[in-house]
Amino acid sequence: MADKTKLARQFIEAIPHAKELGLVLQDIGDGMARISMPYDEKLIGDPKTGVIHGGAVSALMDTCCGAAVMSHPSAPGGTATIDLRIDYMRASTPGQTITTKATCHHITRSVAFVRAVAMDDDTDRPVATAAGAFTVEQGF
């Protein structure tokens, strides 16, 4: 089990686009992952307010959901997104790190179901939530 978590961690940390976004893997294991994305001006979507683009939040959510799937005890290998829905509850506060927590709450031989929530410093009010279905691959 520890090996599996280690493997998933190595895989996530090797993703070129995750590095490009500056993602930091905080915690992973047992079908749960926590990844944060520090504020960066290159990710701004609204120049007037400095709010991060929804697309960057989507990329963070997608990575975190995939990480949660790979760390699940019943997942034999890698994963790919089948579908992902994101609800944007509010604009994230400019300057603050966005942290996502994803949970793989059900897995079959072929499909993994995941939920995720993204927060900034105000953890009482989520920035966004996500729900998705992911493939269950036999290898990486």
Binding site: I44, I52, G54, G55, S58, A59, D83, L84, Y88
Partner: protein, 172 residues
Amino acid sequence: MSRPRPEPIQVVKQRRDAALNALLESVPYIRFLDVSFDRRGDELTAQLNFNDKHIGNPFLPAIHGGVTAAFLEITAMVTLNWSHLWERIESGALDPDEMAKGNLPRQPKTIDFTVDYLRSGLPRDAYARATISRAGRRYASVHVEAWQDHKDKLFAQGSGHFVMPQDKVEKK
């Protein structure tokens, strides 16, 4: 004197391209992902210019699902905003020079966005077009389709809902 002479083609093209460029240049994240737009009249086609930094799974390799989602969302948002501003750009109510200086109208806000991943994204350029299913005064619904080599073999599609900026309310 039945109707005024049409504007010269250069004037029309310059105004439209300058306005579109101003919208795109103002958003750092569009530059970060390297998404460009092709314009034919008011129709837009987005292009994700492939870069190794877009890779999600280096073993396949394939484009990151998050990049695909962001590309579709950018396409939906820009197409919606462009269509929303079109009449004001054409009438001259919006000046492209002022827009380039950063005096831009507020953008629509994403309420939700859903992406279907139909095929894995190959390590090469991708294209997308959005259609506005409904543009109301307060809400809009937009559908997006993305492809790579074959227009009829989509690698992803998405749909989302947006809140429209209420520009006229500001007069109060």
